[in-house]
């Protein structure tokens, strides 16, 4: 091989897995920004340190979000990435694309940016990686004209995302795509004009398999479920057994509530004990299906560790029917956001606020009743508050 000026990155062109270095080089061939990025990255590989300066606020007209400002700390060496901002483009719900749409995106980005992208960012946006400050507005204009809009960033609603749901999945208990799109359209203002105490994420999975990891990484997690009994096709159960599945071991013994019995011929489910974990259905998609009374559980608070530690979302509504126009859900979301907005400190996520002020206070504020499904177990410490109305007035 000829000697190159990116010997470290070149190593990553080898191997079977598709190489991002190939993409960098491909872009670098026609784009000077991409070329400088490639070389700055090579320097980082040598120095074992990033070469970007701290943040910087840039944007497009009328919006407070959707762009992440970025500047090189070695503009002397890499002048074409002196400014190298990212644009977050709201993906079509479910990440479905027609090729003509995708090609439009490519054309716009070749015109305005580095020609490099992330398909997609971990919140779900199509990330257009690197452009200069003076291209931001024109790039946005072109995007908008092509039918695209920016996603969220900063202290705003972030681009909601949803699992593939009813578009392809037999287990969808709610229309995750319609709901996600509906909420996205309803809350455009909250997404584009940061006015919350911090970021707010919504993710929607249409069943408890949670294929968008909603429970782990959204302030509001909507997870499909059902209320009635699992539908069983005993014929197909037998077919599974005949095909070699050890139903006792693989299904019944792994059911978390052990609420299934298999006698070699028939599978019995004690549905009142089932917690709708999806395991048995996952294993026998032809034989078992979620019930017919479908809806979703609403959970809140999920987030990454900063500042007070990572949280998984908490159940606040065990079951809600979810049908357009989703008014009950929206009213709940707004009550939650209002309370959060009023009470949170700057950079305090919803979960952290509930942690600080207490679930009791939160429930009262958003007008939700306490139910045992909200807890793994009741409290163990005796530090119980009483509302003034619980008390007997002094009778002396």
């Amino acid at each position: 091989m000829a000697k190159t000026d990116t010997p470290l990155l070149d190593e990553l062109e080898k191997g079977k897995w598709p190489s991002f270095v190939k993409d960098l080089k491909q872009a670098a061939e026609k784009n000077p920004m991409a070329k400088d990025l490639l070389h700055q990255l090579e320097l980082s590989y040598k120095d074992k340190i990033g070469h970007w300066k701290h943040g910087g606020i840039v944007g497009v007209k009328g919006y407070g979000s959707g762009v992440i400002g970025r500047y090189s700390d070695r503009p002397d060496l890499f002048p074409n990435v002196q400014a190298f901002h990212t644009m977050r483009v709201n993906h079509p719900t479910g990440w479905f694309y027609k090729t003509d749409t995708l090609r439009k995106l490519c054309d716009i980005w070749d015109k305005h940016g580095s020609g490099l992208t992330n398909m997609h960012g971990s919140t779900g946006d199509a990330i257009l990686l690197g452009t200069t400050t003076d291209h931001l507005q024109s790039c946005f204009d072109d995007l908008s004209n092509a039918g695209f809009d920016l996603g969220g960033s900063g202290s705003a609603l972030r681009t909601p995302s949803a699992c593939v749901g009813p578009a392809r999945c037999e287990w969808a208990c709610i229309d995750s795509l319609d709901l996600c799109y509906n909420l996205t359209m309803t809350y455009q203002d909250q997404m584009h004009r940061p006015m919350f105490p911090y970021k707010f994420k919504i993710k929607i999975s249409a069943c408890a398999n949670d294929c968008v990891a909603a429970i782990a990484r959204s302030d509001l997690s909507i997870i499909g479920t059902w209320k009635d009994d699992i539908r069983i096709d005993q014929k197909e159960v037998l077919a599974c057994a005949e095909a070699g599945m050890n139903i006792q071991k693989e299904v019944c013994d792994l059911c978390p509530t052990r609420c299934m019995e298999w006698n070699g011929k028939e599978l019995k489910i004690y549905d009142e004990d089932c917690t709708r974990c999806m395991h048995c259905i996952n294993l026998m998609p032809k034989a078992l299906r979620p019930g017919k009374e479908k809806g979703a559980s609403i959970l809140v608070g999920g987030k990454a560790p900063i500042v007070r530690g990572a949280l998984l979302s908490w159940v606040i509504v065990p079951f809600l029917k979810l049908e357009p126009p989703y008014d009950e859900l929206k009213s709940l979301i707004e009550r939650i956001q209002d309370w959060w907005d009023e009470n949170a400190k700057s950079r305090e996520r919803l979960g952290e606020l509930i942690q600080r002020l207490g679930m009791r206070v939160f429930l009262k504020a958003v007008d939700l009743p306490a139910v045992p499904q909200m807890v793994k177990a009741p409290r163990t410490n005796p530090y119980v508050f009483f509302w003034p109305e619980d008390l007997k007035k002094e009778v002396k």
């Binding site: 190489s19 340190i49 190298f84 694309y97 090729t99 995007l143 709708r276």
Partner: protein, 354 residues
């Protein structure tokens, strides 16, 4: 033309292949025909074939055009991306599946990631675009996937394994609930530049940003001081105050976390737990990290029972056993010392010896 704002994303309905439009919400069951190939069958009798291909996620426009070309050829121009950044080619014609796969292989696209496999590694920006990384993102992922490639294109693991990487404690890769998480960490305190503090930092919010209360602010002199004993190098102060850079080429590196999950299947979602506190940044191929992940993956593969996720296996056999089987040393760093640390201390006389 003046840009319209707040138009929202393209309506997904306009992006759905006709077979999906026709059978939306009417799917009956699915089968994994082979690694990377899903067949979904509708109540109408129609079937949808999805062929899943791996992607580096950091892709050029030309690369995207190539994908489009393939989708045009086999899928009437319809495709999607998954929540873990794989590409899914959507076909309504079974006969085109094998030719598509053949072309994908030829072009170097791995086909797989379904069922009991390792799928794509969710990851972040690293040195490519972010300002707070303790390691790169795309590089370690590429090095790792080269090494464990076979687990992507086959389905022989006890259950699926979700590997994620985040380049700093902000955890944009949401690694905190992954079967195996690769997390960039700093190990030295921020180097406060008090000459810049007055201009670029808000003192109260910087003080408030520290999870362990390690920062003292002097409002009069407009300076910040870090108590070195209380700082655990999270970098959050740097996020809010540029005058507190924390990157350190000699001491930054990677930690490995295991046993998290997100699905509710069988057991409840779980956080990943610390397995290896530190491995050095060793670009371009991070051999220590790659080997560590591979070791964990293979110990799991050879010990867990069918359908057991990594964390479920560890909980069944015990953390003692995890450490002895993997040969990973247990240190005082594995013992939590943050807010709710005591919840993780063993409050019983039950334990194993090995």
């Amino acid at each position: 033309m003046a840009a319209r704002t707040d138009i929202g994303p393209p309506n997904y309905k306009t992006m759905l292949p006709p077979v999906i439009e026709r059978n939306y919400g009417n799917w009956l069951y699915h089968e994994i025909l082979k690694p990377g190939v899903l067949m979904h069958v509708s109540g109408s009798g129609e079937a949808l074939y999805s062929v899943r291909a791996g992607s580096p996620r950091l892709v050029s426009t030309d690369h995207i055009r190539e994908i489009c070309e393939i989708a045009d050829k086999y899928c009437n121009g319809y495709l999607r991306f998954t929540s873990r950044h794989n590409i899914e080619f959507l076909l309504d014609d079974k006969d085109r599946v094998e030719p598509l796969i053949a072309e994908l292989k030829e072009r170097g696209y791995p086909v797989g990631g379904t069922g009991h496999a390792v799928t794509n590694v969710v990851h972040t920006q690293g040195w490519v675009h972010c300002h707070t990384p303790a390691t790169d993102a795309s590089g370690p992922v590429k090095a790792l996937m080269d090494e464990i490639y076979d687990y992507f294109v086959t389905m022989n693991l006890p259950n699926h394994v979700r590997i994620s990487l985040a380049c700093c404690l902000n955890m944009c890769g949401a690694v905190h609930c992954s079967d195996i998480a690769i997390l960039g960490i700093h190990r030295t305190v921020p180097k406060t530049d008090n000459t810049r503090v007055p201009n670029v930092c808000e003192i109260p919010s910087t003080v408030a940003s520290c999870p362990t209360g390690a920062i003292r602010g002097d409002m009069k002199n407009k300076t910040l001081t870090v108590n070195e004993e209380k700082c655990m190098y999270c970098g959050n102060c740097y996020t809010v105050c540029p005058a507190m850079p924390i990157a350190d080429p000699d001491n930054d590196g990677i930690s490995i976390w295991v046993g998290g999950k997100v699905s509710n299947a069988r057991s409840a979602p779980k956080f990943s737990k610390l397995a290896i506190p530190f491995l050095p940044n060793n670009p371009p191929r991070w051999p220590e990290v790659v080997n560590a992940v591979k070791n964990i993956l293979e110990v799991y593969a050879s010990h867990a029972r069918k359908h057991e996720r990594l964390g479920e296996w560890i909980e069944r056999v015990g953390w003692e056993r995890f450490f002895s089987l993997t040969g990973i040393p247990f240190t005082d760093q594995h013992i939590d010392d943050f807010d709710m640390a005591t919840e993780t201390f063993r409050t019983s006389a039950q334990f194993k010896w090995r």
